[in-house]
Symmetry: C2
């Protein structure tokens, strides 16, 4: 097994199209994960992840903070304990609309080419 | 998108071999999840999930509470924010060793036969 506190994983900036968003790759192919991988995001107040779409799905879980999720043509407020499924091909974005950082998990299928 | 607070999902007892453990199926194939599915577990003080092994992997994240995880021949204490990867074929068990309930996410590959 791999057993780690998420905060002990190195934090990286989220690529272009984001503001104030950082990512930790918590469980990945490098750990032997064959099917899906776990990332933790931190989004600063006023920050957001890219508004984009791609072929693969997201499964997210809000750990702390408050914000809004765009999924397709809907925009909804989120709070801790909320779970979000974004199917492949749906435009989406996570935004921090509060004063505290947003911390969330966001899992994706394993990248078979990695 | 599907957007739900985990506590709004119906809770079920965990099958045999467990004590004081309940499960919510938060994001599943019924939501269109093609690759992996998200469950939330609540384990009462003194409770545990089954000590077992199976071909598929787990990716877990501790939301609250304190306990111990058995993975293979190791047993380690866990705390909120800990992430655990259990590869397929490895014996494992989550135990609540504290006084408060343990709440955790545990994700598995989609059940292709469902």
């Amino acid at each position: 097994m791999k057993h780690v506190h998420y905060s002990d994983v190195a934090q990286e900036d989220v690529a272009q199209g984001a503001k104030g968003a950082k990512i930790r790759w918590v469980i990945t192919e490098k750990d032997g994960a064959p099917t899906f991988i776990m990332r933790q995001f931190e989004i600063a107040a006023g920050g957001f992840t890219p508004l984009h779409e791609h072929a693969w799905e997201h499964e997210a879980f809000i750990l702390s903070g408050a914000g809004a999720i765009i999924g397709g043509d809907r925009e909804e407020a989120f709070k801790p304990g909320d779970a979000v499924f974004i199917p492949g091909g749906e435009k989406h974005q996570f935004k921090n609309t509060g004063k505290e950082p947003v911390s969330m998990l966001c899992l994706i299928p394993a990248r078979k080419s990695v």
